[in-house]
Symmetry: C2
Subunit: 359 residues, 2 copies
């Protein structure tokens, strides 16, 4: 193998360290040309789903479906779970995109927007008729993470709305109480350290019932990837279309590796590594955390205000074998982003903070 | 490498023989964790598209977009190219699914259906108001292929309708005159011999204009994967979402391999191999071609009426290292399917026909 950098970009990110070996085994076992209607595929599908259930402690009334991307899940969520109105907490580019997709699909999408890098106040008002409340647990563009209690508070205040959480760049770190949520989704190229090309959509029975209700009312909820179609195939451990079989296989293998390591340890290590970086930023004279309010500082995507030093820091990190993530969009000139996913070792973070401290 | 069977299933099928080496190189070069907003990704995207243009002799007014599957392209086609009415030539499970998706999306979908294994008569009537005519070049479930002249005949008779061709299990074999068509699509796990998880959608300017017209008229044409969104990203060699980067990389590499081999040779070899099998079936006392009319016999997916011998033939082929494809759906008990893709060698087909002749 050639020398490779430690990849701190927030996604696609550093591969989970076992992925290359699993890919080799996949070729030895004929997985890349396996029929998606075979018994062997069904067992691969079942292994990935049961592993995820265990890793995330998913309640039995939750179902797991596969799509092409988390972007697709934004669209399918709106198609299947919104008749008229959705409400979006917007604090960056990705939460905004979810809002825009609802508008594009002809819904009355309402947003509550705060400035980049900010969290939300507990007193924000949701319109009473809202069918769906969309929250982005971890805004990948700004490094703002929403506290779990804040997310759960919408459940008691709006028990009739479906509570949907985009956890694209945070899972498997957050220990969600899924009984207080209705739908959670992610894509595999971030915290799970897999090649891009698979979205994972987890929904409870209330979501299925809503999609069925829209369908019975004559609404179009899409075709092959509407919830009833995804569900009728999932109960057979199948997908409506020929899916990204390799990605489902690799997901199952990596989830099994994570279970062996223990998700509790993954969570403790994530916190430890994030503290290393945030402590360094607190003491640093020039490099600062972009998110000021500690309650909203993400553990999994940390954004650094690097100002005029951006280019110099990038160069130094690359020399030491580390690839930082650019700031998102226009922030690329004065910010850097650092993913803190399960595959990033403590030693990677120690090298990172040593390098930043020396500047 | 462990011993592997020659896979004649029509898809996912036998990998193109260079795929495993390309996958190893991809890992050496960090492709699985490459950012889809990087210059390197843009060059990978450009390489895949320019290779396809050359391989398929695609006119310059055609654009190439990537989706998660060909199933997704059925849905996107209807969303973006049909305001009210689509017309479908149905002669098997896959052409029927395209028709059903149009219905599910609330369109007035009209079908002209013939029995399984049959072709169509030249005199079939298309309703005058049809906006889109959907043809399946190669019906994977039955092994019926439509002659190119038959397909082109719709162009002169219905110049105002968009002519859309599902070439999922035939490309790169057919030498289409794309100037007589408006949209052609395929998925990579069949003729291109790649792992599943990528659809390739080729459209001309008329399709783009139609989508823009529907959008301007206030119609919802989807969100991230509507044609204007796919197009605005494609001109930058990018995709709206984080795509299956590995699959786009592998597609570019395999297309380059096919260009080195020459598409002309691929076509001649495909014809030669298909003649081997059809000639064997003509002479065989028990095994017969399911498609009786030679004008409609597919070169790329050949279906054999194996009747009571189905189990015995399957067992014998497996003993000799060959995996036949099951008959589709209820036909699995009395039919077998054999893919004839570029990766299937003449020697594979010689071994196949020798084995069938001995039974």
């Amino acid at each position: 193998m050639s020398y490779q950098k430690i990849n701190f970009t927030p996604g696609p990110s550093q591969l989970y360290f076992t992925v290359e070996d699993h890919m080799k085994q996949a070729f030895r076992d004929g997985i890349p040309s396996l029929s998606h209607r075979s018994k062997k595929f069904e067992s691969i599908y079942a292994e990935a789903v049961s592993g995820l259930r265990q890793l995330l402690n998913l309640p039995s009334d939750y179902h797991v479906y596969f799509t092409g991307s988390a972007t697709e899940i934004w669209e399918r969520t709106v198609q299947n779970l919104v008749e008229e109105t959705s409400f979006h907490l917007v604090n960056g580019s990705f939460s905004k995109r979810f809002f825009e997709i609802s508008e594009q699909l002809g819904k009355k999408a309402v947003k509550y927007e705060v400035a980049s890098g900010e969290g939300f106040v507990d007193t924000l008002q949701v319109p009473p008729s809202t069918e769906l409340i969309a929250l982005t647990h971890n805004e990948t563009s700004t490094g703002v993470s929403l506290p779990l209690d804040f997310i759960y508070s919408f459940r008691s205040k709006h028990p009739d709305a479906l509570l949907v959480v985009d956890a694209v760049s945070s899972l498997p770190y957050p220990d969600f109480d899924y009984s207080k949520l209705d739908s959670v989704f992610f894509s595999v190229q971030k915290g799970f350290g897999l090649p891009a090309g698979l979205g994972v959509w987890m929904v409870n029975e209330k979501c299925l019932a809503k999609a069925e209700q829209l369908l019975a009312g004559g609404r179009s909820i899409g075709s092959y990837h509407n919830l009833p179609s995804l569900h009728s195939h999932a109960v057979k451990n199948q997908t409506p279309e020929t899916p990204n079989v390799l990605a489902i296989y690799l997901l199952g293998k990596v989830v099994a590796d994570m279970l062996r390591h223990s998700v509790h340890r993954i969570r403790k290590e994530t916190e430890y590594k994030s503290i290393l970086l945030y402590n360094t930023l607190k003491k640093h004279s020039d490099l600062k955390a972009f998110v000021k309010d500690e309650r909203f500082q993400s553990r999994t995507v940390m954004v650094v205000d690097s100002g005029d030093l951006t280019e110099k820091v990038t160069k130094r990190l690359l020399e030491k074998g580390m690839q930082p993530g650019d700031g998102y969009g226009p922030a690329r000139k004065h910010q850097l982003r650092f993913a803190n996913f399960p595959t990033h070792a403590k030693e990677h973070f120690e090298l990172l903070v040593d390098t930043l401290e020396s500047m």
